[in-house]
Symmetry: C2
Subunit: 242 residues, 2 copies
């Protein structure tokens, strides 16, 4: 059973202090790259897997989506999401992505931001998402990059030249990583890039684009601290099609 | 213009001492994984991009390929390749992969082992390879893994626990890497995993499988020194289809 860390009081409070929690999509530096992978939203039905506060659901509606379903296992997240909208075309559902069933062939887009790396049985979830997409429908998601997640205690190390390097070990050892993120003991599932791709292919998807995200020059000019993310990508973004 | 390091006397001599040079395919630990990506060879025409000594060309013929074309820019390599066979169904061609033209729609398989990371204009080569494949034909190749190649001076660093870690930096900074491999000043082209995949998609391929290679338990039992390769993958293997 997947850890539901977002319903932990302390974690939820700290999560709320992140830039991406306070400012929403525009506070997430990878958002422009993720957005570029999305299909045209006008008139479509979309599902957001791990919708959190519901930022994407509301954004999708503002950009013309006909109906959006936001799914999250965290009651705290859903309470916040529901409190921020009275749009009848957005439905928030409290469901565990480990045991999700969705109506068949009903969505043109399945979207997920930084949620799938919590999922233990990702093969099963991807099969269900594939089944729930209309033919030609898109799956667009981000996860923590496997280079970022491989080690249990991620941190930078200065090399002899004083340059930040990211020491990788256990990259090919897939499975849970219990590390420190906002608080100790947060469990994520480490998978290689190859495994993400091969799982998608096995579920019947074709891969249409991969991004190993790093900040743009403009982003670094605005937030110089982002520069180090170019040394190794923090996020992996994938677009696939049914 | 791509460096032709294999025609350097010193490099060629040292390359000849590698296990994979002395023993051929069975001396390359990633070969079983690469082989598993190959289509049925019986009766097909295949091209080997960067054929070196010609190990794969001869192996493909022994496994039923009707005709094999081996291409390499190194005259020393080709001389060795030609000296090891009088099979009229194998043709060795001295061509620069940077400026290759191939007959259209003529091969069922394009194969390449650890050669494409030398290529500067990989987009152009992949377009040409795509054009040269018969519909449904396969491209199967290996390159040094981008995690391995990102830094200019790859080496292990012991962490506080005495465990080998692989420090990554400059991962998102693509371009030439002039490092030490057999001798100093060997120039390879660093590209991210995403770039390899997106280049294939742009050339019209569909991706059918990715492997980030690491040794099997059996391989480690036979050659314990291989164990460290599980900390980070040395090779990236990709199978794609026209």
């Amino acid at each position: 059973m997947t850890q539901n860390i977002y319903d932990n009081e302390e974690f939820f409070a700290r999560y709320g202090e992140l830039l991406r929690s306070r400012e929403g999509l525009s506070g997430a530096p990878e958002w422009p790259a993720l957005r570029a992978l999305l299909p045209e939203l006008r008139g479509i039905e979309a599902v957001d897997l791990g919708c959190g506060y519901g930022w994407f659901c509301r954004w999708a509606r503002r950009h013309g989506a006909a109906r959006v379903v936001g799914i999250d296992v965290s009651e705290k997240m859903l309470a916040r999401a529901r409190a921020t909208t009275d749009d009848p075309a957005i439905t928030y559902l409290g469901e565990d992505l480990e045991r999700l069933t969705l109506p068949a062939a009903s969505f043109a887009l399945a979207y997920s931001s930084l949620a799938l790396h919590y999922i233990e049985h990702l093969d099963a979830l991807l099969a269900e998402v594939h089944r729930s997409l209309a033919p030609g429908g898109s799956l667009v998601f981000s996860v923590e990059h496997p280079i970022f997640m491989a080690r249990s205690e991620p941190n930078w190390v200065l090399n002899a030249a004083g340059r930040k390097t990211w020491p990788v070990d256990r990259y090919l050892e897939e499975g849970p990583r219990a590390g420190e993120w906002l608080m100790t003991g947060v469990v994520k599932q480490h998978r290689t890039v190859a495994t993400y791709v091969n799982m998608l292919l096995r579920a019947g998807f074709t891969v249409s684009r991969i991004e190993e995200w790093g900040p743009s020059d403009e982003q670094i000019a605005e937030r110089p601290a982002l520069a180090e993310e170019r040394q190794r990508p923090p996020f992996l973004l994938i677009a696939a099609r049914r």
